[in-house]
């Protein structure tokens, strides 16, 4: 994962207003937004400016690319329920 400092060092040509964050974000942020995968919007947001899909295919391992390409964003309520279960199970472990 990249660091906050690395994020801010991104070249000036690679900043965008992130519609999810509600603020400006560098391309490097988009690359790690989903933890070990890029943000699911990265192609929608960036493809108009440079061939980000080709870049991702080159940058990601074939396995990671497939994982990224096959991953469907979840409905909010589904994400919430998963996080609730996760938090409850972590609580039980302690």
């Amino acid at each position: 994962m990249i660091s906050s400092e690395q994020c801010s060092k991104t070249s000036e040509g690679l900043w965008i207003r992130c519609p999810r964050l509600g603020g400006e974000a560098p391309f490097t942020y988009c690359m790690q937004e989903a933890g070990d995968l890029p943000c699911h919007r990265i192609i929608v947001c960036w493809q108009a400016f440079f061939p980000v899909e080709a870049y991702l295919r080159k940058k990601l391992s074939p396995q990671k690319w497939d994982e990224f390409a096959d991953k469907k964003p979840k409905e909010k309520i589904t994400s919430l329920l998963e996080l609730i279960e996760e938090a409850k199970s972590k609580g039980d472990e302690e």
């Binding site: 660091s3 207003r17 509600g22 933890g35 493809q47 390409a69 409905e75 919430l80 972590k90």
Partner: protein, 453 residues
């Protein structure tokens, strides 16, 4: 003198919220629990929401009373004015009358407190002592902070670290209202500690922040979680905007041809439009438009391109094709309302063809916002610029078609605390055009050494 503002007296504020679920022409599919595959029940949500809000989440009553303590707080800035944008009309030179609901009048400067106040009240009434939430750049976090302060609740906001470092003003607002604003990932939660152990300088993400906020709420009987968008009860609370607008337009005997709002999670769009959507469902003729973000430069598209090609939004956005794109799974390709946390109610209305979604890129939205500021004075929030870009497009259509139109839109917030976004736009920091090969090479070289995701 021509009238510019339409105001309601305090005693004319709506006493009920409107619930669109009672008028949906087709039923919405219930959300399913990812673990059991069965419809989500109240008990599934109980660890994070109080039961009185869960009841609202699943309610089908058409009207829901607004509690007096909520109305008392609303009255600090509500009813908000309905304003005719005469200067912007002149600037556009189109046969349109433009009215907007000014939601920037609230103390944090946006529509968000309409639900923050209600959620804080219901949590307090349920006996909750602390609310936690996540925030990106701080719009929601600041609204909830104010609401919690008003109802004597503790508030803990997990703010994505990259925004926490870049955007000090909203976290200072939160601190002023007594909230503990924590950069995420943090050492307060197991989820945050795990990330920090792997990457101590992580810039965070909304996903991490929400994990932390949920974990903070779950397992503590006095704490709950609060969400500022997407969910049914959030949209319900926001309908006070449209209900006021309905009354205000009736006072001047005007009815809109087009109702518009910007749609991120859908709450401000729904807040204004749902009472008008009800009219449409019952036979009134009007267009309802949700303006959402895209990134594609205007120059690459036709005048009315980039709408979704069909009501089911299965058609990919056009720029992908203009760039010689070959194949991508639809989950990535479509990128529209369905795919970035849009409210199910709004998605359903789009699917039904009742609401139309249009996408606008960041440059045309800021261009429209600057035009607005230079004619109407108020500097819009960057999100609000999306709907202003939609208004510009609609006015251009009216001009081309030679039709007079009344446009109503939701001015969801002012941009005084987001001036850094304007700095980024005005200084050319935001990517403004399709990069040349040379620019791409230079830009990507600068991040080549970064670890792979």
């Amino acid at each position: 003198m021509e009238q510019t503002k339409v105001v309601l007296a305090d005693n004319e504020i709506p006493r009920q919220w409107y619930n669109i679920l009672s008028d949906m022409p087709t039923p919405m599919s219930p959300p399913l629990h990812p673990g059991t595959g069965k419809p989500v029940g109240p008990e599934d949500l109980a660890p994070v929401f109080p039961m009185n809000l869960i009841e609202q989440e699943v309610a089908t009553d058409r009207w829901i009373n607004i509690p007096e303590p909520v109305l008392e707080k609303y009255l600090i800035w509500r009813p908000t004015p309905l304003i005719r944008a005469r200067n912007f009309e002149k600037l556009l030179g189109a046969p349109v009358k433009i009215y907007y609901k000014y939601e920037g009048a609230s103390p944090p400067g946006s529509h968000k407190p309409n639900t923050a106040i209600a959620q804080a009240y219901y949590n307090k009434a349920f006996g909750i002592k602390r609310l936690s939430t996540e925030t990106g750049a701080g719009q929601w976090g600041s609204a909830l902070s104010m609401a919690c302060a008003m109802f004597g609740l503790e508030c803990r906001v997990f703010m994505v670290r990259i925004s926490y470092e870049q955007k000090p003003y909203r976290r200072l607002m939160m601190a002023t209202w007594g909230t503990e604003c924590i950069p995420s990932p943090s050492d307060r939660t197991r989820a945050g500690r795990k990330i920090l152990s792997e990457s101590p300088d992580s810039p965070g993400s909304l996903g991490i922040a929400i994990s932390e906020a949920i974990e903070d709420a779950v397992g503590n009987k006095d704490s709950r979680y609060s969400l500022g968008s997407v969910l049914n009860h959030v949209l319900l609370h926001q309908t006070v905007i449209g209900l006021e607008a309905h009354k205000q337009l009736a006072k001047i005997d005007v009815y809109p041809d087009v109702v518009m709002g910007c749609a991120g999670g859908g709450s401000n769009f729904a807040g204004l439009s749902l009472p008008f959507v009800r009219d449409k469902i019952h036979g009134k003729k009007l267009s309802v438009v949700a303006a959402e973000p895209a990134s594609c430069p205007t120059l690459t598209r036709g005048p009315f391109a980039y709408d979704f090609g069909d009501t089911a939004m299965t058609t990919p956005l056009l720029p992908m094709h203009t760039l010689g794109h070959d194949f991508l799974p639809e989950s990535i390709h479509a990128g529209g309302l369905r795919y970035h946390g849009m409210a199910p109610i709004v998605s359903h209305l789009v699917k039904e063809g009742i609401v139309e979604a249009r996408a606008y890129d960041q440059i045309e939205t800021f261009t429209a916002g600057v035009k607005w500021a230079r004619s109407e004075g108020v500097i819009p929030a960057p999100e609000t610029n999306h709907v202003i870009a939609a208004v510009v497009q609609e006015a251009e259509r009216a001009k081309q078609e030679g039709k007079e139109k009344v446009i109503l839109f939701n001015f969801s917030g002012h941009g005084i605390i987001d001036l850094s976004a304007y700095d980024a736009f005005l200084s050319g920091k935001l990517t403004q055009h399709k990069l040349t090969d040379e620019e791409i090479e230079r830009a990507l070289k600068s991040i080549e050494g970064f670890p792979k995701p």
